[in-house]
């Protein structure tokens, strides 16, 4: 068991013919990912990397029964690609692309509200169920199968956490990168619920990003959950000066959460274990 992605997930790749997509998809296939289709509007070839390529998401879904898509389409064209995937009612869409305009993401979020799709990203490393399958751009030599579920706003810090967890003798059930763009498709809440229902996952690790209101939402949910699995969160204080461009000020004004210390307290009060460095994280895991 795991969540969202395993070797049975039928994956299509939007923008499969790009250099980066080709590089990472080949590796994912080798890892065990069931890649069944590629989508490229106005396709020039019927097959790429041995995988059938289609003009539209709908056609790819009909012909191959794909239920998930990974998006590598450049930011300028990403909105159209993502809306197409949501329209085709794919269960899961993972967006690797970074730098999608805010206005485009606002439209995408609105479309998601009444859809059947779970959107992960943009600007995410993806989702990996170790030693099984992944949709993403993970370094494939670092993850190990185990019973810790990880949900993260960061990409590379997550790799660091995974290495630390593995060194301490643990492994991961599934690792989900939420993405690090200004607006993301899905926050912590939805995924905590999924991990909570997953039999393999024994504990959940959260890794926050800039601002941190997604974590605050998670704290509220966690407090209200009847059957909780232990949740540990790694919270690092931002050492760089706060800029107005980052949107953190807006988060504070609109959602009323102020300082790092206040956020930390809110997390702790909800029953979540808060740590501020990697070695404390594994120590806490060992105690569970």
């Amino acid at each position: 068991m795991a969540i969202l992605v395993d070797s049975k997930t039928k994956v299509m790749v939007q923008g499969i013919t790009g250099t980066q997509a080709s590089f990472h998809i080949q590796r994912a296939i080798k890892y065990g990912t069931n890649v069944v289709a590629g989508v490229v509007p106005n396709k020039q070839e019927d097959k790429h990397l041995g995988i059938p390529v289609f003009d539209t998401v709908r056609e790819a879904k009909e012909k191959t029964k794909a239920n998930a898509s990974i998006v590598f389409v450049p930011a300028k064209f990403a909105k159209s690609a993502i809306l197409e995937a949501i329209d085709a009612e794919l269960e899961l869409v993972v967006v690797i692309t970074s730098g999608i305009p805010v206005n485009d993401m606002l439209e995408i979020r609105r479309k998601l509200q009444n859809s059947k799709t779970l959107l992960i990203g943009p600007n995410t490393p993806g989702i990996i169920t170790p030693q099984n399958a992944y949709m993403g751009i993970f370094p494939d030599n670092i993850h190990k199968s185990g019973d810790i579920g990880i949900i993260s706003r960061s990409s590379t810090l997550t790799y660091e956490v995974v290495l630390e967890i593995n060194n301490a003798g643990f492994g991961e059930s599934t690792v989900v990168g939420l993405g690090d763009d200004y607006i993301i498709g899905t926050g912590f809440v939805e995924l905590i619920e999924r991990f909570n229902q997953d039999k393999k996952t024994k504990a959940i690790v959260l890794i926050g990003g800039e601002g941190g209101n997604y974590e605050v939402e998670a704290a509220k949910l966690y407090k209200s959950m009847p059957h909780q699995k232990p949740v540990i969160t790694l919270m690092l204080e931002d050492p760089l000066p706060l800029t107005r461009d980052s949107g953190v000020a807006t988060d504070i004004i609109c959602n009323g959460v102020t300082s790092f210390a206040e956020r930390k307290k809110l997390m702790q009060d909800s029953g979540i274990i808060v740590v501020d460095n990697l070695s404390s994280l594994t120590k806490e895991l060992a105690k569970l």
């Binding site: 439209e107 609105r110 590379t156 800039e210 760089l240 807006t250 070695s279």
Partner: protein
């Protein structure tokens, strides 16, 4: 991405939003001429143009400017000249500029509008609910007028109207604004003012639109006395005319160079230089370094970079920074491939030499290749297996180097 107030006001005017008449000036003499163009009798407002807020309550670094801030009412032409003379080529320090302040290269000379009430008005994107939110709060004279401070000090005195993705305010939303402002003027005047701003917000892919303040005159006419537009960097390709306005004067040269390559570079203090690929990863390194007593001079985030030349040019920024006494490279390659970083280090070292300690740590995509490249290079550098031990090695090497 930000533009000056006078440029933003030009855009406001294009969208039919009322702004005072004004002329830009680069010298005191030009300021005097500008004032005569604006009006014959005055008074005028001399406004220092920098890309940061809270100018009114800011201070100049050079004492010749006295203790007053960067927005000054001037009653005579001579006063306009004096104020412009004091502000120009001086550094204005506000709570948004950092300790160094920002250089005032130009002043905006504006007609003075006498107002009875002032408000902060903002349109922002709330990323949690994925909606545009209108923010409104009264502004008192000479208080710290930063919206963040105001919201922390007095959270109940802010009106927040969630506009979703509406392109126009609803009747009920207009009513709530009227009620909050105790606005006595024509409903249609207020509606038009707000809807035109919202139209501007979407038309230019703004991520924030702030008017601090809007002013109400005796006859209940609404004026945008200030104008700040933040543009979405990722949407600038759709707005060529805005790209031309972006002025990065005052931005650190290295930061500018890195940003041109699509990377992120930040200066902190004196100490080690960090090259990593991810902001979370960088935070963790800075925190761990601090624990070991190592300060950080600067941090370069190569994100998911894949272009060899851009990576090399960015590594050079760190290796040539005189504040850096040791370099820590920590790459966890996923999208980014470790070997490209190793190639970059070799290229820069061959070009400039390597005369400060360097420790590298690689994990992930093409890790072995990267380590092999560095180990066979003959350069005096060390390879670490994790962050903590890598920083240990660097600390030791810096101590030996001194």
């Amino acid at each position: 991405m930000d533009i000056y107030e006078y440029q933003a006001k030009k855009i406001f005017r294009d969208f039919g939003v009322s702004v005072p008449y004004g002329v830009i000036a680069y010298t005191p003499k030009e300021a005097k001429e500008a004032a005569l163009k604006v009006s014959h009798g005055g008074p005028w407002v001399v406004k220092a143009q920098i890309l940061a807020g809270s100018r009114d309550v800011g201070k100049f670094s050079d004492r010749r400017a006295g203790r007053r801030g960067g927005i000054r009412i001037s009653k005579t032409i001579d006063e306009v000249y004096e104020n412009a003379d004091e502000m120009l080529q001086n550094m204005l320090i506000t709570n948004q500029t950092g300790a160094k302040g920002r250089l005032v290269s130009r002043v905006y000379i504006e007609e003075y509008i006498k107002t009875t009430k002032k408000f902060y008005l903002g349109f922002v994107v709330d990323r949690i609910t994925a909606a545009v939110v209108l923010l409104l709060t009264p502004v008192m004279a000479h208080m710290n007028d930063d919206i963040l401070d105001m919201s922390l000090q007095n959270p109940d005195n802010i009106l927040k109207v969630n506009l979703g993705l509406q392109r126009e305010l609803t009747s009920a939303q207009i009513s709530s604004v009227i009620h909050f402002m105790e606005y006595k003027g024509k409903r249609n005047h207020l509606r038009t003012f707000l809807n035109r701003l919202l139209n501007l917000f979407y038309s230019y892919d703004a991520t924030m639109l702030e008017i601090n303040p809007i002013g109400l005159t005796k006859d209940e006419k609404i004026w945008a006395l200030d104008a700040k537009i933040l543009f979405d960097q990722n949407a600038l390709y759709r707005h060529k005319e805005i790209q031309k306005l972006i002025d990065d004067a005052g931005v650190d040269e290295r930061e500018k160079a890195a940003s041109k390559f699509g990377f992120q570079y930040k200066e902190l203090n004196n100490g080690i230089g960090i090259i990593s690929n991810g902001s979370g990863l960088a935070f963790n390194i800075i925190n761990e370094a601090k624990k070991q007593g190592l300060d950080t001079a600067c941090s370069l985030n190569l994100k998911g970079g894949v272009d060899r030349d851009k990576i090399t040019a960015s590594i050079k920024l760190i290796m040539t920074n005189p504040k850096v006494d040791g370099i820590f490279i920590n790459i966890l390659g996923g999208f980014l491939r470790c070997n490209l970083i190793a190639d970059g280090i070799i290229a820069v070292a061959n070009d400039l030499g390597l005369n400060i300690p360097l420790v590298a740590r690689f994990e992930g995509t093409n890790k072995e290749e990267a380590i092999n490249i560095l180990q066979t290079s003959g350069l005096p550098l060390k390879i670490a297996s994790d962050t903590v031990s890598g920083l240990d090695m660097l600390k030791e090497a810096i101590a030996e180097d001194l």
